[in-house]
Each structure stands twice: as structure tokens, then as C-alpha cells.
Amino acid sequence: MAIEGADIVKAAAFIGAGIAMGLGAIGPGVGEGMTAAKACEAIGRNPKEAGLLTRTMLVGQAVAESTGIYSLVIALLLLFVV
């Protein structure tokens, strides 16, 4: 099996994409889950503010999501651009 330089580069880009998206998905998943758990606690304590708490939870999760989106962007760049 003759392995060419271009082939190795492509193989490395594929592995890199998988690692970037795979490991990058762990943090946002756990972090957003914590946010949701605390939002449930807050609504349980003070159900009148459910609307405000839902909004705050979603904004907080959107910020936590950003690193997941960075991973997705890097993975897609590695797959299609590099």
C-alpha cells in the first residue's frame, strides 16, 4: 500500500474533524444540562417568574452553546475547506 502525502493530510483532517466535534460536544452538553437543572430549581421555588427564568435559561444556554458551534465550524472547515 503506497501512502501519498496528500492522502495522509486528508486522513489527518478527517480524524481532526471527528476529534474536534466529538470532544467539543462534551462541554456544552454538560453545561447546558446544568443550566436547565438550575432553571427547574428556580421555577420550582418561584413559579410566578417562569417566563423570565425560561428566557434567562435560554440566553445562558445560547452562550454555552457557542463553543459547540466553534467545534462544528472547525470540523466542517477541516472536512470541506482545508
Partner: protein
Amino acid sequence: MNIEVQTVVEVAAYVGGGLAMGFGAIGAAIGEGYTAARANEAISRNPKISGDIFKTMLVGQAVAESASIFALVVAILLLFMKVPFPTLLKAAAILGAGISMGFGAIGSGIGSGYPAAEACCGIARQPATASRLTTNMLIGSAVCQTPAIFSMVVALMLMFINFGGASLQPTWAAYLGAGLSMGLAAIGSGFGGGLAAGASCEGISRNPGTAASVTTIMLVGQAVAQTASIFGLLVSFILMFKSFPESTALSAAMALLSAGICMGFGGIGPGIGNGMAAGGAVQWVARNVEHAGDLMRIMLVGQAVSQSTAIYAMVVSLVLIFVV
């Protein structure tokens, strides 16, 4: 050095058996240790009913043990299996089976420890609810075992299905990827399901009147937390059963391996996160049952957002399988 194919298959089976049992022993041991620790705490609070607590501890630990028993079964099968037609492809499939079962047992073992631990503490708090708590504990920890069962199914399929005349290159990477995808993705869902089940046992012991609502929302939350491992199962089925055109290029094989790594790791975080969200919701349904509807709604919204990164990981791995 000329190595026979038969030798390679045996090496793969022994390494796979070691991986299956070695990694497979982690989760159940941690989960059972946690259960035992909380059972001691419970007995010290209420020594009069130590018999009931001890019994609940053993039942809960037995369920948590099943994850590592699956690993033991797969490891023993790997050690003693006879492969009728040894090929290099079969060697890759056997190694993938060991990886799938080994990683897949971690989450379920740890997760099942939580409901058992909280049930022991709950019985010390409210001895009258013992039977209700035991039932809820058994339902919750049975659901925690599903990811380990998925992993066992994938491992047995990799070991015993005759995949026929698939080409060695690049299909070997697809079989390893199938094992990684299922095994790693099962970690998060098993652990997350345990967090939800633990919170429900605690909640029922504090407010036994809410048991019906608590069990319902626990099951909904656990079902959503299972999605990450179902994505892993889906990707590993695609990797096992899609036929790949023969290609000696390294990149073709690495794309398939990477698809498994991506979905496997990508499923861990969302599985744990969904379990945390479900745990928070269940805990507060027990304390404030009038607002169970609001809590269920926000739990599902939060879980959906937390699930998004698992969906990104699935998209990237499907792109790796079908597009590049």
C-alpha cells in the same frame, strides 16, 4: 515477519476481551461503592431499620452489577470463541466488539448506583415508603441499563454476524468506529439516566404523595437522556451494515474511524447534561407538584438545547460516512 491471519484474529479476541472487562468493571464498582456509602449513612441515621436498608442496598447493587456482568459475558465469549473463517476484517470486528462493551458498561454502572443510594437514604427518612421507593429504584435503574444493553447488542453483532465479502480496506475502520461510537456514546446516557433516577428516589422519600408525578417525569427525562446513546447506536449500525467501496487510501479508512470517534465522544456530554436537567426537574416536582407542568416544559426545552451538540456530532459523523 509473517503472521498468520488466525493469529491476528486470536490477538484481537484476547485484546478485545481484556478491554471489555477492564473498562467494563469501572462503572459498576463506582456505582456500587456509592450505594454502599450512602447505605452506611442511612443506617447511621436510622439503625432500627438496618435490615430493610441492607436489603435495598443489595437489590440496587445487583442491578448496577448487571452492566459489568454483560462485560464479563462478552469477555468470556471473546476468550473462548472459535472463528470458523478467520479474516483480518473479522479481527477488526472482534476488537470493535470489545471496545463497544467495555466503554458501554461504564455509564450504566455508575448511573445505577445513584437510585440505589437515594433509595437507601429515603428508606431511612421515611420507612413507610420502602416498597414504593424500591419499585421506583428498580424502574429507574432498569432504564439506566439500556445503554449497556445497546452496547452488548452491538458487541454480539460484531462478533457473530457474518459480514460476508466486504473489502478489508476501508471496512476494518468502520467496525472499529462502530464499537467506539456505541461504547462511548453509552457513557453519558447511562450516567445521566442515573442522575434522574436518583433525584426521583430522593423526591419520593421527601414527599411520598407526589410519587406518581415524580415517576412519570423521571421516565420522560430518562427517555430524552437516552437519545444520545440511540444516536450512537444508529451511527454504529450504519457503519456495520453500509457497504463501502474498496479503497486503499488511508483517508477513506480514517473518515470511518473518525465518524465513530465523533459520535461516541459527542454523545457523552449531552447524555450527562440531559440527565442533570431531568434530575433538577424531578427534584422540584417532588417539592412543588402543583407546577409539574411548568417544570416538565422547561426540562424538555433545556434538554432539547443540551441535545444540540449531540446532533452536531451526528451530522459531522454522517458527513464523514456519506459525503467525504
